[in-house]
Amino acid sequence: MGLKSKDLLTIEELTVEEISLVLDTADSMKEISTRDIKKVPTLRGKTVINLFYEPSTRTRTSFEIAGKRLSADVVNISTSTSSVVKGETLKDTGKNLQAMNPDLVVIRHPAPGAPKILADNLSSSIINAGDGAHEHPTQALLDIFTIRERKGHLDRLEVAIIGDIRHSRVARSNIYALSKTGAKVRVFGPHTMIPPFIERMGVTVCATLEEAIKDVDVIMMLRIQLERQGDFLFPTLREYSRFFGLDLEKLKMARPDVMIMHPGPINRGVELSPEIADSPYTLILDQVTNGVAVRMALLYLLIGK
């Protein structure tokens, strides 16, 4: 039993059985992070390289901690201080890293498909830690892990994803992951941020916030990418927050036991009011804790033998 591919590039190409295997393995890994000595010897002598072409705190740290808890050697490369600024191509950077025999490379890149280029050119395993607006598979896996942990199952759950669906790799990976595991997904956001033909992915597009959050088990709020403000996809942040943000008043339209998730970093007062961000409804910090367990599982499954 294991994963079929040497790489994890997308949720789209994972089978339901592979998703279950990752979640079950993560469930067993979680205990290690609660020990006094948070380390097991499993990946001793393996090298993991974090190659990040975009800023990240959570994902990069999470991969680093996951690797170290399994005793792998983890090397971080941030491209702003590397040869990338001298114009080295992705393929060349990859081949040079390969020459140092890493077992696994974690890559985040602004261009969709960049991890695939590395995977095709390197014999090491590749994990996609986010490629442009394409996919962010480890985020989706930790999200559904968090939901499954709380609800006990995923099938038949109703999940609303709210915000900038169009630019969101988190939304895309989650739509695949949730649909494959039997959950039903609704999306809601400004019209300019709902990609045309999104229904073909099997989701329902909602017209109002009420329609989106009524009777759902889980609300996933997406981060408004303030760095894309130049795109004029909505008039003002205040207007966005009024129509698409969540506060305690609007939350009354949802079920009292609804779970609120957010991939972070939060824009406080934009997509989530501060009261909600700090409320017991949100599982944001559980998501971060579970992220380490899910990434430990993936490292074990990809390079554990």
Binding site: M1, G2, L21, D24, T25, D27, S28, M29, E31, I32, R35, D36, I37, K39, V40, P41, T42, L70, A297, Y300, L301, G304, K305
Partner: protein, 185 residues
């Protein structure tokens, strides 16, 4: 793989009698049973630990807590086996620090599983001691490891295969010896 047949070497009654004896031996060697904890190796060691705990309770009264240990993350042969093992949960609901630990498994063979288990337990803290209880010892040790409580010694060849089946895990209760099974290491 060639299989020429098998024979039952322990039945339900044998297993029960052996576990009763091991429980008595554990009580005898650890008189007050204070700070005594059982840890079973997944998965059949856990079942055996539960049964031994029940039996000690019958002899001495009082609960003997048990934990479950998965040794996959500590194996030394992960790169050598074909199918990647699935990791199960390690659930040890007590601190092992300063405790008297009885480690329990079904079959003692090369000793590598026990080596992995010892590392796994010691990573959780420093016990006062660890003793090993085993349902059957089939010999062929590859590491300097021995059991403190042995249910039964069964001479085997490396080519033979020993299979322990317990009601809770397998729906039937017996130990069988498969002759000329898969080649040993």
């Amino acid at each position: 793989m060639k299989q020429t047949g098998y024979k039952v070497i322990m039945d339900r009654e044998d297993i029960d009698r052996i576990l009763t004896r091991i429980a008595h031996e554990i009580v005898e060697r650890n008189r007050d049973c204070e700070e005594l904890y059982l840890i079973g190796i997944r998965k059949r060691g856990v079942t055996l630990a539960q049964r031994i705990s029940e039996k000690i309770k019958g002899i001495k009264g009082g609960e003997i807590p048990i934990g479950a240990l998965d040794i996959t993350l500590y194996r030394d042969d992960l790169s050598e086996i074909d199918a990647q093992p699935v990791i199960k949960k390690t659930e040890i609901p007590f601190s092992v620090k300063g405790k008297k630990i009885i480690l329990i498994d079904d079959v003692l063979y090369t000793g590598r599983t026990i080596r992995a288990a010892l590392d796994g337990i010691i990573d959780l803290g420093r016990p006062q001691f660890i003793q090993l209880a085993i349902l059957l010892d089939r010999g062929h040790r590859e590491l300097p490891i021995r059991a403190d409580y042995i249910g039964k010694n069964i001479p085997t060849s490396r080519k033979e295969l020993v299979e322990v089946k317990l009601m809770e895990d397998d729906g039937t209760e017996e130990v069988i010896l498969i002759e000329e099974g898969i080649d040993g290491p």
